[in-house]
Amino acid sequence: MKVTFKIWRQEQSDAKGALKSYEIDGLSEDMSFLEALDFLNESLVLKNEKVIAFESDCREGICGSCGVFINGRAHGPHDNMATCQVHMRSFKDGDTIVVEPWRAGAFPIVKDLVVDRSAFDRIIEQGAYITAKTGTAAEANAILIPKEVADSSMDVAACIGCGACVATCKNASAALFVSAKINHLNKLPQGQPEGHKRLLEMTTQMELENFGSCTFTAACEMECPAEISISSIAEMNARYIKAKFFG
């Protein structure tokens, strides 16, 4: 299988970047997309060129490290799939594949396809936790949590923090990510004592990090590898209004 990659190359965050073309032959359909990039990188090394920097780790769609814009879509042509789960059989022999990094003001490019997503970590630091020290827990079954509550909490807790929601959003809104984390904890009885504080502090940080506001294009819902629904954002809004007006 032969394809032409057009890949964004950029030396460092303040350098100017551009798309660069690489023709590559000898790929197989069973290769994952990232393995095709590995393959390309190996050929670059042998040609004495610098490898293309891209991020990936677990390569099974759970760690959230990988993430690039492939042919105009976050994580490639399929819905709800991480970049590492895309395989070359999704492309045709002779295709041109354009690969760009996540684009968002809050995610500055580090190098080539690697972006800095530490804004997410800073949002998490603003309260995406339950303030309880190790060693202070009561017996687990002392807190009964209805199955539906645990399940709906798990639905949003599944977020892998890849940043596709931000990258695909025309507003670079982090609403899906932030709402997922807030709802995960605020739905559970353990998370409720600090619920309002968490909500206000995390959303404030979200704005400080220069993420845009959600206009419900729902693109994020389509690209999210964890299939988190935009109803999560609506739920965060409901919690916000409740926190502001009803204390």
């Binding site: 090394v45 490898v51 991020e55 079954n141």
Partner: protein
């Protein structure tokens, strides 16, 4: 040097309590003057960093990923064991202790294993408190399921993403302490060496991956929580950047390495399809609850699986292990698969797989029930292979998965270097020669949350007056220069072969000779081959780019250089152990029907290796079984 495992006095069930009441304490005012470095931010690392910070220590935590949330603990699917006995099915701390000890084929310490079982129940309490959305029953209580190798239901889970949910809880607790300025988190920082001053670990040398800058960090104690090293096989279920560099460097600086060859090969991964493959994806072991494993009875059968009639299928696990059947422990299931594949019954393109069939389960329980239980796994399977497993059986294959071996640690989790601790998968502690399913999340969490924060003070109390010498100490400059020289050397070779090329070659040798089954001749040959690979690596490696920028190729090469040396030790260890135990199966030591033959008379010890100028010296930690009599580990 004699190995002192520091096992506390008293009855088995009192040992941990006795230890805690006797270990030294540090008052809060002193704690805030003590610095601890934690390397790795997985469940062990993040749990330890957060808990130590809560106790008042100043913590610096490093990870190579861009965020602490991405450590490979995130990928554990199945669950976490705890002796809660919520199911009222006869479970207890004792039974869990026994299962773990037996599962490990009696190659771990009783005291450690008992402590693991003892602390499992409070750990579940802890994670529930931290907001982990464990699966629940309709009445609101926690749900359980059973997992390979045991007969009770003690596994707690959060769908197929238990590891992710636990890690996110640890990461959240870590984030809380970062905000409180008690933890300095340094992502994209890879530890390249350990600084040992007067026999005590006092700091690390780190490369900032986004800039290539080499930095020094000093502390009063160093904790390694760097995970497993199964990427030595190249193809494994591990994350692509998982590595053994920090523990290997620690080993070379004096930390003994225990049972390096004990590697668990997981039976249910997806088979390799080409040389370009970078990793093997795990399919949860829970699939074996309803799926039946088989191969065609006829060798080299080219028919489609659905065209092969029942009487021409060999359900080899059910045949060989009637009482556990498809739920036989991992090492046994993997080895049985290898036996069939080697005998020419393998299926798939490369004849390297076996079938995992849900036809009978679908007929019996209905498609809806299977979909409800395993829907996400079937979807994942289809995403990767393009095959609908409701219609034809999955193809699965064994893959390197977990390192039972690791840095030798005593009861306090301290290595043989004073002030250097190893926690989680990177140590050798509780699992013996084989780890039971859902015990990994347990061990790594307990090490980080409960054990280390209780043992580290015992050492640090003695350091209060001493204070670490700081990064200006000449030893820091010395180690930093070594690291820099090492990097320069790799960059300057400018040979003809890529890192991946060498890694593939190493992986093939290791997979062939030091994986599911080993033999003397093969291991001796492997050692020679790996030495040759090492020689070639240092003459013919090609790494482009520079050391003063983000350079993923250089990172890979540095990791591989350490893997090559580690591989030699793994083979040396496998060669030395003339018995079959747990995951270590020596072909010379088996019964007529192919079962492992353990040799308690001669090998009732942990092999502990000391690095000595490129060679390895064996020490033995004798194992005493005071409470449990080792039996033949039979799952027939």
């Amino acid at each position: 040097m004699t190995l002192n495992s520091k096992i506390p006095e008293g009855k088995l069930e009192d040992k941990w309590r006795n230890y805690q009441s006797e270990s030294r304490l540090i008052n809060p005012a002193n704690k805030k003057n003590l610095n601890i470095i934690v390397v790795g931010s997985g469940l062990a690392g993040a749990g330890a960093a957060a808990t130590l910070a809560e106790l008042g220590y100043q913590v610096q935590c490093f990870c190579y990923q861009d965020s602490a949330r991405r450590a490979h603990s995130v990928a554990a699917q199945g669950g976490i064991n705890a002796a809660k006995n919520y199911q009222h099915d006869g479970d207890s701390v004792w039974r869990m202790f026994y299962d773990t000890l037996k599962g490990g084929d009696f190659r771990s310490r009783e005291a450690n294993t008992y402590r693991l079982a003892e602390l499992s129940a409070p750990l579940i309490d802890h994670f529930v408190q931290q907001g982990v959305p464990f699966a629940r029953e309709y009445g609101g209580v926690l749900a359980n399921r059973s997992f390979g190798g045991v007969q009770v239901q003690r596994t707690f889970y959060a769908r197929g993403q238990t590891g992710q949910q636990l890690l996110l809880a640890a990461y959240s607790q870590l984030s809380k302490m970062i905000r409180a300025k008690k933890v300095a988190m340094l992502p994209r920082h890879e530890v390249l060496d350990i600084v040992v001053i007067n026999g005590k670990a006092k700091g690390v040398i780190v490369r900032e991956l986004s800039t290539g800058q080499i930095k020094r960090f000093a502390a009063d104690a160093v904790v390694l929580a760097t995970g497993g090293y199964s990427r030595v096989f190249r193809l494994s279920t591990l994350a692509i950047n998982c590595n053994g560099s920090a523990i290997w460097k620690a080993h070379k600086r004096g930390a003994f390495f225990a049972a390096p060859s004990f590697t668990q090969i997981h039976p249910t991964a997806l088979p390799q399809t080409s040389d370009a493959q970078s990793k093997l994806t795990l399919m949860s072991e829970s699939l074996r609850n309803d799926g039946r494993i088989w191969v065609p009875k006829k060798k080299d059968d080219k028919r489609k699986p659905i065209d092969i009639p029942e009487d021409e299928r060999d359900y080899y696990l059910e045949r060989r292990y009637p009482s556990f059947g498809n739920l036989a422990p991992r090492d046994i299931a993997s080895r049985a698969a290898k036996e069939r594949i080697d005998a020419g019954h393998g299926v798939g393109q490369l004849k390297n797989a076996v079938y995992l069939d849900f036809k009978h389960a679908i007929t019996k329980l209905g498609k809806a029930a299977i979909e409800d239980k395993y829907g996400n796994l079937f979807t994942m399977y289809e995403k990767i292979t393009g095959i609908n497993a409701y219609q034809e059986p999955m193809k699965i294959s064994p893959a390197a998965h977990f390192s039972m071996g690791g840095l030798w640690v005593d009861y306090e989790l301290m290595t043989t270097i004073l002030g250097l601790y190893a926690i989680g998968e990177c140590n050798y502690s509780d699992h013996g020669a084989n780890r039971l399913g859902a015990n990994s999340l347990l061990q790594t969490s307990i090490d980080g949350y409960f054990i280390l924060p209780n043992t580290i003070n015992n050492y640090l109390e003695g350091e209060i007056g001493e204070k670490h010498p700081g990064v200006e100490h000449p030893e820091f400059a010395h180690v930093e220069n070594e690291v820099k020289a090492h990097i320069k050397k790799i960059l300057h070779i400018n040979g003809n072969r890529t890192t991946d090329d060498f890694h593939r070659e190493l992986g093939k040798v290791m997979w062939q000779e030091c994986a599911m089954s080993r033999n003397k001749q093969g291991l001796e040959l492997a050692i020679l081959q790996i030495k040759e690979i090492k020689e070639q690596f240092w003459n013919d490696i090609k790494v482009t780019g520079t050391d003063t920028e983000m350079n993923p190729e250089l990172e890979k090469a540095l990791r591989l250089a350490d893997f090559i040396e580690l591989a030699i030790l793994m083979c040396t260890d496998a060669l030395q152990r003339d018995e079959s135990c747990g995951a270590h199966f020596r072909e010379e030591y088996q019964t007529e029907d192919g079962e492992a033959v353990r040799n308690d008379a001669d090998f009732n010890f942990v092999s502990v290796w000391e690095y000595h100028a490129g060679d390895f010296k064996l020490h033995k930690e004798m194992l005493e079984f005071e409470y449990v009599k080792p039996t033949v580990r039979s799952y027939k």
